[in-house]
Amino acid sequence: MANFSDAEREIYGKLADYLIPSWKDRPAATSVGVHRHMLDEVLRIRPDLEAAFQRAIARCPGQDISKELNALAREDNAAWTALTTVTTGGYMMTDEARAAVGYPGQVAPPYDPNETPEYVTNGMLDRVKARGPIFRDTRHLS
């Protein structure tokens, strides 16, 4: 796995914050570490993204970010996709970003399978039944 220099991480951080800036109560990409531990974590999970991600940061030195990223997206789609996947993937794995968007993760909410569902008590399902069968029968063809 690649070791990124501080300078590379700093450049990537600028790009990441352009893609995901701070907004309302939501943190910016670098404030949850997408350019630091999360970058390493994402590339550990998805080593296949590394080469295209490296291309992206090599092409976008962060001088005129809008121009660089628009050109990247137009001219090297794989690098652009790797850059955005690494950024959003890393961001959304952090506790801070998840808390800000109200996402507990794919947790298992408890439920009671024997509870009568609302669509039964409020008559919605009965209305479907009352309309009767809607399939075409074929018994006459056999």
Binding site: A73, T81, V101, Y119, M124, R127
Partner: protein, 546 residues
């Protein structure tokens, strides 16, 4: 020289749902059965669904397309001439390790499309003949659901109660209720209470990347463990290169396979049953050439590989004001509808589609509409990133319910599986190429259904909708490449899945289906495999074996 193992009564190739039902019934009937499976065992602990990284892993290691995963156990498929990318898994349990568990039996009309609509072909048997087998496999898969759906003829109930449809399912149902359209709580192959060794579905919503709870039914969890008790032998990591045909006996005698250490071996058997799916099965047949079958085994009709169907697939999302917690499962269908399933020629196409109602999924699924899609309309990245990205997440993530539209495509001989001239798998075995074009009927069908689905979202109160009338990576359902029929010139198999050409060769996977219906096929696949295996048990003495 290949090493030959002891002769079995039956050799099954492929361990997905079709192979699993077959192995269970035949071993229970006292036959000696060996299954060869190119994939290996997965452990529920390997699945990413309960880990933070699940959506990232879903983009590569757990992607449903073998061409994207590119694992050594997968075989590559040339899809350069296909509108749709085929999806599957190579593992003990087959594609059902990553299936969504939507349990949607075909309808009576699906077996009679020639008689009813004047298109394609009728099946050699009808819905009512399959029904008892359907009821049997509904118990095997520990299904959960609600009895009495007027979309179907009356039938037995399901072993476990309905899983909650959640806020997203309720939203979708409200839209249908307003319009007076059919809907029904989702029937799924996953129990809501502990059942037959499966845990209850915990609504994690990650079924398509493997169920980390060991709740969703897949063959490796239950059926193969049971079959083992009766002496079933599973050889995992065994990739079949060809079926052995004896020109003197005019029978198949077994198969050649490459084991996990790269050694060539033989498994001999009196009967061979292919369950390698509608791409894997014709690939094996087309790779098995002999003096009598220079164009591929059991191919005197020339139809092996022909009539590939992949179900045109559309997606309509509704984005709502309220928080629907739309990352919760099951995924699994929350609800479904058959409102527009049957043919109505005034719509400008024949046949129809089932819609499955699902949750929008995790946060990265919200991004699916931007990222690399941005420049499809010459936009600027700023239209979708920066503050706009946050706004998109705020308005879509957790607030999205969707209709997954599974349409019927009619069999066409030009849609086919061939052997690619150059491509090989990691064992050097020639790999398949598929040629598949979406027909005009399918296009019209998808456009019509997408419009109706959008209307239902609006009736449900969606503040905006996103419509993808056709997705390329949607080849979940592979059907039709060695079809059943009564006429040996027009079909490869008879009504029991037995080759017209070779009496001890059978095919029980979706390749055998003459038409594909507009519904997820695995319920009917397992029911038909149950019918065929039952027949084989009853008739075993009369099958002319090797």
């Amino acid at each position: 020289m290949a090493r030959a193992d002891q002769e079995a009564d039956v050799l099954i190739i492929g361990s997905g749902p079709s192979g699993a039902v077959t192995a269970k019934l035949l071993t229970e009937a006292g036959m000696s059965v060996v299954t060869l499976e190119q994939g290996t065992w997965f452990d529920p602990g390997d699945y990413p669904g309960d880990k933070k990284e699940f959506e990232l892993a879903a983009g590569k290691q757990w992607h449903p397309a073998p061409n994207v995963r590119d694992r050594e156990r997968d075989y590559p498929i040339n899809t350069s001439e296909s509108d749709v990318e085929p999806l599957m898994q190579s593992a003990v349990g087959g594609s059902a390790t990553i299936w969504a568990g939507h349990w949607v039996p075909f309808l009576p009309s699906d077996f009679k499309v020639r008689s009813l609509d004047g298109v394609a072909v009728d099946w050699p048997f009808d819905y009512y003949e399959v029904l008892p087998h359907l009821e049997a496999v509904e118990k095997l898969v520990s299904s959960s659901g609600t009895r009495g759906n007027p979309g179907y003829p009356e039938q037995a109930g399901y072993p476990t109660p309905q899983i909650p449809i959640g806020k997203a399912g309720m939203k979708l149902a409200e839209g249908m209720d307003k319009l007076g359209w059919h809907w029904w709580p989702g029937l799924n192959a996953m129990p809501s209470i502990p059942w037959q060794g499966q845990n209850p579905c915990a609504r994690r919503g990650t079924c398509m990347f493997g169920c980390p709870e060991a709740a969703k039914w897949s063959p490796d969890l239950v059926l193969f463990k049971e079959a083992k008790k009766y002496g079933h032998r599973m050889i995992a990591g065994a990739r079949v290169s060809e079926i052995i045909y004896d020109d003197n006996l005019s029978r198949v005698t077994g198969a050649v396979y490459i084991d996990q250490n790269g050694r060539e071996r033989k498994q001999m058997a009196k009967i061979v049953i292919l369950c390698a799916n509608a791409i894997g099965t014709p690939r094996i047949l087309l790779n098995s050439k002999s003096k009598r079958f220079p164009d591929g085994l059991a191919n005197s009709s020339g139809l092996v590989g022909r009539n590939l169907m992949m179900h045109p697939f559309g997606l309509v999302m509704g984005h709502f004001e309220e928080n629907l917690e739309s990352w919760y499962g099951p995924s699994g269908q929350l609800i479904n509808t058959l409102q527009f399933y049957e043919t109505d020629e005034s719509r400008g196409f024949v046949r129809g589609a089932k819609w499955g109602g699902m949750s929008g999924g995790g946060p990265l699924s919200s991004k699916g509409f931007v990222g690399s899609e941005v420049f499809s309309d010459n936009g600027r990245i700023e239209d979708h990133w920066g503050e706009n990205w946050h706004k998109m997440i705020e308005s879509k993530f957790g607030r999205t319910a969707l209709w997954a539209i599974v349409g019927e495509d009619l069999p066409e001989e030009s849609n086919r599986v061939e052997i690619d001239a150059d491509l090989v798998d990691s064992d050097g075995i020639p790999a398949p190429k598929i040629i598949y074009k979406t027909s005009e009927n399918s296009r019209r069908l998808l456009d019509f259904h997408a419009e109706r689905a959008k209307e239902s979202m609006e009736a449900a109160g969606a503040k905006s909708t996103s419509v993808a009338p056709q997705m390329r990576e949607s080849g979940w359902h592979l059907l039709g490449t060695t079809r059943m029929g009564n006429d040996p010139k027009e079909s490869v198999l008879n009504q029991y899945g037995q080759s017209h050409d070779i009496p001890n060769l059978f095919i029980f996977d979706l390749s055998a289906f003459p038409t594909g219906a507009g519904a997820n096929p695995t319920a009917t696949l397992m029911a038909v495999a149950h019918r065929q295996a039952t027949h084989l048990v009853n008739e075993a003495r009369n099958v002319e074996v090797a």
